[in-house]
């Protein structure tokens, strides 16, 4: 599908959007907490997929992981810009966060997701990680804290935090491989 997108196939792009926009939007919303910004980030990501499809390397990652990393990277750019806007310069043009997303959208998406057994199993694996490992990984992944910042936040030595992240991710890998 990515190869077809690289050849400018809009129908392949449309199909990829239908498959991935839900999880990627959910990720952007979890990290940004603002529907308007999450939609802008998702738009940037899909335009990037469209323009950079030929650079996708299956040796490096699956399509899903590639798009997750793209999304996370764009969201982090926005979080950094948001931080800069608040502390530096430009008169803020940022819209006030619009609060909780529309309940019907949440429910509809939840229904769709729960019908998907594979997604449910993956979620189960992730939620059953030891809590200290899961916490360290979540702070790194969703809040983009560095290992130094995580150590400070949790009041743990840096080595402990690195080990928790490593063990947690290795466990995730191991359990996901079994699925």
């Amino acid at each position: 599908m990515i190869a077809r997108i690289g050849r400018r196939d809009q129908s392949a792009f449309s199909a990829l959007y239908d498959r991935l926009s839900g999880p990627l939007y959910s990720l952007a919303m979890k990290m940004l907490g603002d529907p308007s910004e999450a939609q802008d980030a998702l738009q940037d990501v899909f335009l990037q997929i469209w323009s950079r499809a030929t650079t996708y390397d299956p040796e490096q990652s699956s399509v899903f992981s590639w798009t997750v990393l793209l999304t996370r990277s764009r969201v982090i750019d926005r979080l950094r810009a948001r931080g800069r806007r608040s502390r530096v310069v430009v008169a803020s043009t940022e819209e006030t966060p619009t609060g909780a997303p529309d309940a019907s959208i949440v429910e509809s998406a939840a229904d769709t997701a729960e019908k998907n057994d594979e997604v449910a199993r993956v979620r189960n694996v992730l939620t059953n990680l030891p809590s200290e490992q899961r916490e360290a990984i979540e702070l790194a992944f969703f809040e983009h804290l560095s290992h130094h910042e995580i150590a400070a936040r949790l009041g743990q030595p840096l080595g402990t935090v690195k080990a928790r992240i490593r063990r947690g991710l290795l466990k995730l890998r191991q359990r996901l491989n079994k699925l």
Partner: protein, 238 residues
């Protein structure tokens, strides 16, 4: 055999937590160690799976329309020139015909024609878009370039940059709209290129820009500045 320390680094790398120097050092280690490379790939997959723990949401349907519209716009914008020239071969004939019709229809209501023209413009996104080609000026590399597709009605645009190397540490590129009604250029945000010197970014200027004469990219302090300070690297008009 992969040491615990290498596994630590691999996990931090997969989560994007290494700083630039550590990143570069680890990548050179990766190139020389196939086993480590495989581990990173698997850890990256595991990290990607974390996205699935987010509460499931769906974006509004209008977002897909927006994105597909931008893609269609871009596709239209990259039609090769020979085809475009060939397709305009009918223009002289069309003009002649239009003049003949015009002469024969002196009574046609001008207001009605203008209304029709406005409807056509409103229906075709390409008609609402102005393209700006940005050329390099020293100290930018001679092959650096950028194109801006600007929609004044929406006050938003897309910039595509190529062959512009990433700035040195502590610096960022910033996009500016030069508007006839503003004394100073209006910031349209920081733009970041990837390792290949490429970027495609959607932007909105921080102030309303209704009469944009040009777009420019300058080199500024990291995070951008409210008023242009650094040297212009790329600039261009329609």
């Amino acid at each position: 055999m992969i040491s615990d320390e290498q596994q630590d680094q691999a996990a931090l790398y997969a989560l994007g937590l290494l700083d630039a120097d550590e990143d570069a050092a680890f990548e050179s280690e990766l190139r020389a160690n196939a086993e480590l490379h495989d581990l990173v790939r698997e850890l990256r997959e595991a990290a990607g799976g974390l996205a699935l723990t987010s509460p499931p949401l769906l974006p509004p349907a209008s977002l897909k329309q927006r994105i597909m519209g931008e893609i269609a716009l871009e596709t239209k914008g990259v039609v090769p020139m020979p085809t475009r020239r060939a397709s305009f071969g009918w223009i002289p004939w069309a003009i002649a015909a239009a003049l003949a019709v015009f002469c024969g229809l002196l009574a046609v209501d001008r207001v009605r024609l203008e209304r029709q023209l406005a409807q056509i413009r409103a229906a075709d996104p390409l008609m609402q878009t102005t393209f700006y080609t940005l050329a390099p000026s020293a100290p930018a590399p001679a092959d650096a370039k950028a194109t801006v597709a600007w929609q004044p009605g929406r006050q938003s645009g897309v910039i595509r940059i190529s062959n512009l190397p990433a700035p040195q540490s502590g610096k960022d590129y910033q996009l500016w709209a030069v508007d006839a009604e503003h004394k100073d250029p209006i910031s349209a945000g920081v733009v970041r290129v990837d390792n290949d010197g490429v970027a495609q970014i959607r932007f909105k200027p921080v102030e309303k820009a209704e009469h944009v004469k040009a777009f420019a990219i300058s080199l500024e302090r990291e995070g951008g500045v409210p008023k242009k300070e650094g040297p212009i690297l790329l600039v261009g008009t329609t």
